[in-house]
Structure formats: C-alpha cells, structure tokens
Subunit: 719 residues, 2 copies
C-alpha cells in the first residue's frame, strides 16, 4: 500500500466523521430526538437541554464533555464508566508522553539515514520515517533503544498512578454511606447435603446464626426458576400484547370511522394461523389463565425446587464484607461464600452449580477457547493474505481491468483487507460470552470480564500476529519451507511493512466508529421506524429508545488491540503514535458525551474491570518489548541484549502492582466499610430487592412467601 492510498483512506474516514458529527449537531437539537440523544438524562428525570437551549455552537457537546468532572461521570454512569475513562486517559497520557520524545527524536534519525533505499526501491514516504529504513547495525539504533526504554518507563509511571486512582475511586464508592443492597448480602454456594431433620432454610440459618449471631438477618434459598420464569415471560408477553391491542382499539375510534373496531388475532402458530378471535378478550383469557398457573408454579418452586445455594443477608455491611472473605468450612467444596453482586446481574442458573461442576466446566471452556484462538489463526492469515489487491490480481486475472482504474484501485486498496477483518471479528463476542457463562460464573459483570479477556487474547493472537505473519507468508512461503526457524525474524522483519496496514485500520476504526457512535444514526432510524409502525403504548416506546450500555465486552478488547498495535509500532514507526492519540482522545470525547447523556450502565461492579484492563496493558507492553528485542536482532544491532532487562522489569512491576492493589478488587477491605451507613438500613427492602421478578408476585402474600421459604423441602430435590 502506498502513501496516496493511505491518504485516501484517511481522508474518506475523516470526511465520514465530519458528516456524522454535523448530523449529530443538527439531529440532537430536534425535540423529537431527545429520547435518542439524551436517554440517560431523561431516565434520571433531568431536563435534556439543561441550561443551553438557545446555544447554536455545534461544538457545545465537546465543551461539555471536557468540562465535566469525574464526579459527574460517577453520578451519571457509575464507577465502571469512570474507570473506563481512567483507562482512556492513561492510554492518551502514555502515547502523548511517548510522542513528545519519540517524534522529534526518531523521525529525523530515520529519515536522514542513507538507508536501504539503494537496495530496495519500494520504500514509500511513510516507510522512510520508520526504523525499517535505518541500516542494519547502524549506530543510529541507539536512539531507538533509548525510545524503547522511554516508552516503558512512561507506561510504568502512568499505570501506577492509574491503579492508585482507580483504587481510590472504588474505595470511595464502597465507603459511601448509601445503602447498596449488595453490600449487605453474600452468596453461599455448595451447601452440603441436607440432614434428615432440617429444612434447607433451617440448615442455612443455623449455620450462619451461630457464626454471626449479632448481625445475621435472614437467608433466601435459591430455587430452580426455569419453569416459573417461562410462565412469567409468557405472561409478560401477553400483558404487552394486551396493552398494545387496547392502544390500537383506543386509537381506532379517533380515526375516520365513528365506531371502534376491536383488533383481532389468530390463535395458531406465531399469530399467523388458526382461528381468528377478538384479541383483547383472547389476551384477557390467556392472562388470567397464566396468573393461576404462575401462582401455582411459584408455590411449587419455592417449596420444592430449592437448590444447594442461598443468599444470606446481614444487618451490617462490615460483617457481609468479612463473611465473603472467610473460609467457613474446612473442606473447600462446601459452604463457599462470596460477595453478592447487584440483584440485577446475578446469573441465577449458575448459582447452584457444584464446586466440581464449575471446575470441570471452566477447564473445558479454556480448552475450547484455546482451540478457537489457535485454529482461527489459519483462516485469518489466509484471508488477509488473499485480500491484498496485488494478490487478488495474481489469483483472479480477470479483475485486472477493473482494478487498474486508478480511483477504484485506491479505494479498494484502502478498505479491502480491513473490511474482511472487521466483519470477521464481529461474529465472535457473543460466542465468547456464552462460553464465559458456561464456565459457571455467577455475575454478569464477571462473565463479561471473562469474555472480554478471551476476546483480547483472540484479537492479539489472530489479528496482530496472524495478519503480520499471514501478510508476508504468502510472498515468502518458499523461505519458510527451507528453514522452519525463520518465523521469529520473519515476524519482526515484516512489521514495518504492515505498519501502514494497521494505520489504515486504526484510522477507519476511529473515524467511522466514533462517528456512528456519536451520531447514533442506527438507533435513531430504528427508533423512528418503530415509533411510526410498531409502537402503540408508552412502554413499547420506552423499549424502543432504551439506550443500552457501553458494551465493555467488545469495546475494551478493541481498544486494547489498538493500544497493543500502537505500542508495538511506537518505536518502529513512530508516525503511528499521533493516530493512537487521536483514537483514544476522540474516544474519550465521544464516549464522555455518551456516558453523560446517552448510555445507561446495565450493572455496576465498582471498578472490578480495572485489574483486567491493567493486566492486558502490561501484556501489550511486554509484547512491545519482546517485539523490539526481536526487531533489533533482525537489525543486527550489537547491543540488542541491552533490552533484556525490560521484560524482566515489566514482570516485576506487574507482580508488585498485583501484590499491592489486586486483592482489594477481589474483596472489600474492612477499612473501607468500617463506617456503617447513616440510617439503619431497611433490611426488608434489601431482602425484597433480591427476589427474582418471576417469584415476586403481588398476589402472593408476603407472609405466605416467607412461610413457604421455610416450609418442608424434600431432601431429594437438593444437591
């Protein structure tokens, strides 16, 4: 890829971004679009245009994003989002500090080198500025050694600060004198087999009352809710349909005909076949039928489908935090206690899984993920090798006339390889999330973290190594056949050539991606279509503009991949750094806007994502250091061993950070929760907030429910 196609790609991407940003400015001012552009504010009961109704400045959102404080983000979007901004800020910081030294130092050094231009005429304008241009064994490489150390040191410094900062954020949130139900509860797993003369509830209550006599409040046995959930969902579906039908009926009067027409529906498959009946009556009938069924099933569930897992509530959050850290049973496969997450993010179906089940499933999943990472490498390598234009021309000579048209050629060259990559990667996250839930993880946030980790390793291995290798594989296949030990130098020597490829990838990604994110074109269109043709009730409308969350599961691995690429190329082709800075700075701006006004987090894990981010940043740094070591070797630099201390330092640094900070992200330090909340918490309220919606019926009398919880349970159904 030459310089002009790169500029074309960059220009096109930037133009798309500008257009999308202008559309955002225009569209977000329309009253009717408020629910698309300000849902977070609306859901929090705030005025969407608070304090700037008359403004005409199209960049007002940028000003607002920059002026917003971290506390604003915490208030509007929670700790997790604030932590994500710490990550973005750290990435920008690392790259800016790196570029301050690298750009003025390395670009002139590389450019002024007599270099390999004589021997290899294909070096273009960009490649002249890279380390690949410096002659092997040249004394100029000292500058690059210094640069490698500088980037590493900057990363250590900023990562350390970020870790301290995130730890403070988490502590402040956990310390706040607000009643958070999850701070008063713990999850108990692997309850041993029920003794003959006790109910499950008695067993749990006895055990915890004895150990925490003063602060134990009550327990809730986890039940097998599969059946009751199914009925409840069906019931909710009919309720929605009834509301819809009633809305249609109400509207029909206001139309041309004076008499209202009652909507009809068919009873058969998917409402398409079968007898045609009056919809409202039909739904009413279905609902009352299902309510009876649900109530019966609720009773059965609560009494007879108790599992070997429970939630235990304490009247003190100090006790709950302490209980979650203590070893309760001397055999670890019984009475496992862990911190309770928010009620909304509990994965109920995983709670009763036994210790061994979880262990085995976890390892099976690891093996599957490993196989996926390793064996997808081959197709990706081939795809990226095939989809360079010159390869395509070699293989499909008949497209030659089309491609030789200069404008088409430039556009194709710019986008073709990356598009295949992006589409390919879009298929994966769901699969990885599914695998992570299969592991037996009990919290949604944890499952997303696990999926995100898998996705990151997948990305790095397949995209980065796969493309770098695959791109050169095709042309140098014969060399490899001769010498199988050639792969490491091959990897390193093919790096500068691929730098421009990744540059284009990054540019495409940030301009188009963030443009779409900011303008919310797709949610906007869907919302308006739904509003016009589908939605009849308020609830349906609200569902249509539900903003969703930041989507950490795919967003963070994608960011991490960019960071890894930029870090790895930062010294080899320093020109990539400004693009990295733009990517993360633009991301910071756009997402700040989204976090403050649009997106609503679907859970809160109090920054537990940070250690994962941190680990991956360290992995990226170490990969960078190893790449540099290999690349200096290729450049036949005599003092290459001077780089050996770097990965060792990184490992030590990572170890110290882990030792020092990590435990607090796994457990709640008692120091943090030692001050109890101001008012005595309403324990009944906390308890109720954990009852799954399918079991929390108004009809079901409270006392009856509690009673049922402690009535006979059949030992056979447990374990």
């Amino acid at each position: 890829m030459d310089f002009s196609s790169f500029l074309t790609s960059l220009g096109t991407s930037f133009a798309i971004f500008v257009v999308l940003m202008l559309m955002f400015t225009w569209l977000s001012r329309k009253q009717g679009n408020a629910v698309v552009y300000y849902p977070n504010r609306i859901l929090k009961g705030m005025d969407p245009w608070e304090g700037r109704s008359g403004e005409r400045n199209p960049f007002a959102w940028i000003q607002e994003a920059i002026n917003s404080s971290e506390q604003d983000v915490v208030n509007m979007s929670g700790i997790d989002t604030a932590v994500y901004f710490v990550f973005l800020g750290t990435a920008v910081g690392i790259l800016v500090l790196a570029s301050l030294v690298l750009l003025p130092l390395l670009l002139p050094v590389a450019d002024s080198d007599p270099g390999e231009t004589a021997s290899n005429g294909t070096f273009n304008e960009l490649d002249r500025l890279s380390m690949g241009h410096v002659q092997p064994g040249s004394q100029r490489l000292w500058a690059f050694v210094f640069a490698t150390y500088w980037v590493s040191l900057v990363t250590y410094y900023l990562l350390w600060n970020a870790y301290v900062h995130v730890s403070d954020l988490r502590a402040a949130a956990l310390m706040a004198p607000i009643v958070r139900p999850e701070q008063f509860a713990v999850i108990v797993k692997d309850i041993p087999t029920l003794p003959q003369d006790q109910t499950r509830k008695e067993q749990v209550d006895t055990f915890f009352k004895e150990i925490y006599p003063d602060t134990f409040y009550r327990s809730m046995i986890v039940t097998d809710n599969k059946q009751v959930n199914k009925i409840w969902e069906e019931l909710e579906g009919y309720r929605k349909k009834l509301a819809h039908a009633e809305a249609v009926y109400a509207k029909s009067r206001s139309g041309s005909s004076p008499e209202r027409t009652r909507p009809t529906c068919r009873t058969g498959l998917l409402g398409l076949l079968g007898e045609k009946v009056d919809a409202i009556d039909h739904y009413h009938g279905k609902i009352s039928e299902l309510i009876t069924k649900l109530e019966a099933e609720q009773k059965v569930t609560v009494r007879e489908k108790q599992q070997s897992s429970a939630l235990v509530f304490f009247s003190s959050r100090l006790t709950a935090a302490s209980a979650a850290q203590n070893l309760h049973s001397r055999i670890v496969d019984t009475w496992n206690v862990m911190e309770a997450p928010e009620p909304r993010q509990i994965i109920w179906s995983n709670l009763p899984k036994s210790f061994y089940e979880r262990q085995i499933q976890q390892y099976v999943v690891y093996v599957i993920v490993f196989l996926t990472i390793v064996f997808y490498m081959i197709p990706i390598g081939f795809v990226s090798a095939f989809t360079t234009l010159s390869n395509l021309m070699k293989l499909l000579p008949f497209i030659k006339p089309v491609v030789e048209e200069n404008s088409i050629r430039t556009v194709l060259e710019a986008y073709l390889p990356q598009l295949a990559l992006i589409i390919f990667l879009a298929l994966l996250p769901k699969f990885l999330l599914f695998l992570s839930i299969t592991e037996g993880i009990c919290t949604e946030s944890h499952a997303i973290r696990a999926a995100s980790g898998k996705y990151f390793y997948f990305s790095v291995f397949n995209v980065f190594i796969g493309v770098t290798l695959g791109g050169t594989l095709f042309s140098t296949f014969k060399t490899i056949e001769k010498d199988p030990n050639f792969i490491v130098p091959l990897l390193a020597s093919s790096l500068p050539g691929n730098a421009t490829f990744f540059l284009t990838y990054v540019a495409l990604k940030f301009f188009v991606g963030y443009g779409l994110e900011l303008s919310r074109m797709i949610p906007l269109i869907i919302y308006h279509l739904k509003r016009k043709y589908v939605c009849k009730t308020e609830a349906e409308l609200k569902e249509a503009w539900a903003p969703g969350d930041l989507g950490y599961g795919t967003r963070i691995p994608a960011d991490m991949l960019i960071l890894t690429i930029v870090l790895c190329y930062s010294v080899i082709a320093p020109i990539i750094i400004p693009f990295g800075v733009i990517y993360f700075a633009l991301g910071w701006l756009v997402l700040r806007n989204q976090a403050l006004k649009v997106l609503v987090p679907s859970y809160e894990s109090y920054g537990k994502f940070w250690p994962h981010i941190y680990t991956r940043m360290m992995a990226a740094l170490i990969l960078f250091q190893l790449t540099m070591f290999g690349y200096f070797g290729v450049k036949e630099f005599y003092y290459t061993p001077l780089l050996i201390p770097l990965p060792i330092c990184s490992l030590i640094f990572a170890y110290i950070c882990k030792q020092k900070f990590h435990q607090f992200f796994q457990n709640t330090a008692l120091e943090v929760v030692r001050h109890e909340v101001k008012d005595l918490p309403n324990m009944e309220h906390i308890y109720r907030s954990f009852i799954p919606p399918s079991l929390a019926s108004d009809k079901l009398d409270d006392d009856q429910f509690d009673d049922a919880m402690s009535q006979t349970s059949r030992p056979g159904s447990s374990v």
Copy 2:
C-alpha cells in the same frame, strides 16, 4: 558392588541395631537414666515406669508403641507429631500394598527372563531380579506397566485418606474447648506511618476497635528488643553462675575441711584472665547492676523502640480467626493481619519487616537456594564417582595392596560412597534454616517448614539425580561427548545399577540411625559427663537432659528422600520395597517410643506441616512416573506412551486435593471455631503469655508497663 558386599553392609548394620537395642533395654531400666529415656513423661509429671516396673521383657517398648493410640500421641506430643505418624503410616501403607502385588508378580517375571546375561556377564544376584534384566521390547514389560499403574493408584488412594484424616486431626485440635492463647490473637504487620497526633498504640487500638467493637481486647506493640534481650541474657547468665557458685560453696563444707571455701573467679576475658575475686560477691554485684540497667532499658524499649508491627488480642477466637483472613486495608502493604502462632515460636525480629523487605529478601533467598542446588551438584557427582573403590584404585594405585585384602575391601566397598554422602549432607540444614529465617518468616514452625522444603529439593536433585548421573558419568564420559542428547536415557539406564547403592544407603541409614535414636547413646553419655563434672544445680541438670524435639527440619526431608528413592525403584527393582517398608515401620516404632516418652515438641503448628509433606509425596510420585516413562523408552517398549496419562492424573489429583483441603491449613475455618471455649478466657493471662521474657520483669509494675505501652512514642523511630 556385588551381592556379598551388600549382604555384609546389611548384616553389619543390623548387628549394630541389635546391639544398640539391647543396650537401650538394659540402660533404660536404670533409675539414674530415667531423665534420659523418659524426659517427656517426667516433664508432664508422670511416673516414668508407670505400670510395668517388674517387667523383664526386652521388647516391652515395642508392645507399648504398637498399643498406643493416636490420641496418646496427641496428648503427649501434640498434633504435629501425630501428623508425622500419619505420614509414616501412609508411607508404610503405600509400600506394603505395592509389595503385595509387585513382589509376587515382578520378581518371577524378571528372574525367568532369558535376559541380557549372555551379553553382559556382570549381572549379579540382585540385578537378576530387576527390570534391567528383562530383554528390551519383551512382552514381559506389560507386567511392569501394570505395576506402575498399581503403585500410582495405591498412592492416590492412601494420600487422599491421609489428607482427610489430617484435616480431621487439625479440626479437632482447633475445635477443642481449651483456651489456647494463639487462638485469641493475631499478628498485625505493616502498620502505616504514625499520624502526628497519635501514639502507635492509639493508632492500632482505634483501627481495630472500630472494626471489631465488641470483641477487641487490647493490643501489644512490637518493640525492638535487641538491646534489652542482650542485657537480659547477660543477667540470666550471671544468675546461673551465681546459683552454680552457691552450690559449689554449699558443697565445699560437706567435704573434708570443716570450713567452707568461697569459690573465686577472674573478672577478665572468659573468666581466665584478670583479677581473682570472690565469685558470689562478684556475681551479686553484677546482677544488681544489670537489673538496674535492664529496668532502664525496658522502659526505653517499651516507650521509644516501638515498631510498625503489633499483636492484637480479641476476646473471641471466632473474631481472631476471621480477622486473620480479612483484607483490612485496600492497599495490601499496610495493615496485614495474620494468625498468631504460639508465643514461644514467634520470631520477633522478623515481625517489623516491611512488605517490600520481605518480598525482596524472599526472592534473594530463592536465588541463593537455586544456585546452591544447581552448583553443589557438580562436587557431589564427582565425590560419588571418585569414591567407588575401583575408581579409587585407578586414581591412587598405591592403595591397591590394602584394598585387595578381601575383608577390608568388602567393608570399604559397602560404606565408602555412602559415608561421604552422609557427612556432606549433614552440613546443610543449618544453612537452609538460616536462609529461611532471612526470608522474613515470622514463625519458627513456618521457617522450619521452609527449610525442610529447600532441603528436600536439594536432596532429590543432588543425591538422587547427582549420584545416579555421577556414578555413570565417570565410565561413560565419552558417550556423552559424542551425543549431548544422551543424558535422559543415560539417567534411566543407569538406574538399576545404582539400585543396590541406594539399597545399602537405606539400610545403613535405618539400622544405624534408628538404633542411635532409640538407644540415645550420645545424649546419655553427655548427660552423665555433665552430671559428674559440670552441673551443680537442679536447673543445670534439667538443661543437661533436655530432650529436644523430633527435628522435622531434617527428619522429614530425609524420610522423603528415602520414599522418593524407594518409589522410583519400586518397579525397576522391586526388591527395594521390603527395605522401604522396614525403614518406615521401624521409624514408626522407634519414634512412637520417642514421642511418647522422650521427645518434647518445641512448637505446635496444628498440622500445618502436612501440605508440605503431601506436596513432596506427590512430587516423588510424579518423579517415579517420569522415570518409568523414560526407562520403558530405554527398554524399547512399543507401548510406552500408555504411561503418559499417569503424570497428568497425578497433576489433576494434586490440584483437586489442593483446592479441596489446602485452604484450611492456611486459615482457620470459622465452622471449626464457632463454638467458643467453655469458660470465659482469662484475657489478661493470654495477653501476658505473649510478652517476651526479656520485657516481662516482676519488678516492673504491671500498670506501669501497660502505661508505658501507651505513652508517647516518637514517630521518628517507626518506619
């Protein structure tokens, strides 16, 4: 080494053992030796000859050892000793179960093989019974494959049972409704810098009172006791000397001269030089001088030498157990809390070491140990290669005439190589214990465990691999030069030849070692010499017969080495198994006697040694499985890969055991301590028991001491 020299060695060892045992029977009956043969009973205030004064049976001690229950051992010697017997019992069990199948199966299979006798005439009677005698590729090797699986399965089964049993033992001990001071205390390390307006004591008290308001009792700040300990030791020394001088003076009257002669001493170096003065007066002066000095130093220490570490006492052992498991500070390098050990085994000087100090020291020690293990290999290899008789004759031809004398030759051949080895190994344990204490470990039992672990790895690497390799290295040096990949098959093929070497080593070790242990010849002689010539006072006598403890630091690694050797050779040369059985069974018998009557444990760690023993047993098993894999490869057995599942199974088994049981050996499960002790514990007594003897003066008023503890401390003196 041929068969006759082996028999000579065995016979000599056995004869020594019988002689020693008879001497034990004879000597232990003498009233005057009671303090040497029954010190544990005497110290516990029991009658040494309880219930069998008139007996004449020389094997009575065997009967008593066999009839004693585990509870007896726990009562007399504590949980750690009982756990050690579980280990011995498990080792015997594994070897007996293995031999039941291996001896009748493998010996005939090996013996009846036409074998390599034709090609190699040097096979002797013992080697005929080993796997080395079976022809390569023979179908007879199937029996050995089966045997390998059998040994592994037996080990899994018995180890699992043993782990459950030890876990029960530990739980029972911790659960007992007896007041154990260490169950009510925790050690707090890494207390952060002192705020300006607080004393250290206030700081600690505030922190823990807030978190444990109901059960916090009080705290004790750790002080730098170096100075005060020195004075105290000096004072104790003079007190002993005074008592000695007074005893001498009292005795002098009863002699021939009617007037008492006052003992004299010299004031100079070591009591040898300087002015001659009256001893009693001199010591009295010194003592009163030192008491003043000690009191002054105690005040200074308590007020001004406070460190960043403390002991905190709770009135509930449940709270103490929970506190030791909780994360107290969100930054891990402050407020680290751990379970308190018994007062007598605290290593005070390590308590104030900071988090980073400990980390760094630990890694420095690991590096030193690694270097020790690797670089001692070379000398040991050479020593064992040189000290075979034929090698010595080659190198030192002038000893030939002596050696060719048949009787001398046999004895030399039997003992020469092993003696060098044993002497060599005796130098190490002290060094390793010193290293372990340098790591920053706070408990004596933990330091001994760490030293024992290092010693085990040292033994296995150096003795086992070193000797096996070294012994053949000398003769096959040229083969190695030709092909450096030859080492693994070399190791495996040299195994059977060394089997007899190890057999002799084991035989020597157990008969002579246990004979000395049982007869206590050395302590007996020392005691009688001291009683006659040195000791004048009761205290001095008591010191002279102080029995010491089992010495786990060297005993367990030695046992583990034997077990490793026997396991590794169990299938290759099954004839070794009976010797292993005798070693462990004899050890069980002799040490049972010692535990019940002689040795007094110097600490109690409630079985925390077990996970270490278990890990090493698993390591031995895996080494055995790998050796077999290599050896079958050498035997050109086509189905060798059938052995691959074994090490994998072992790793899974080890992982499951670790997951399931190990945590309870690190922390106290709350389930175990949920029942508080019967009577309210005397907290003042518990608190006092942790005051180091050099600070616990009678003269120092109690209140004053407490007061001093909470008086001003200078922030400067604390880290």
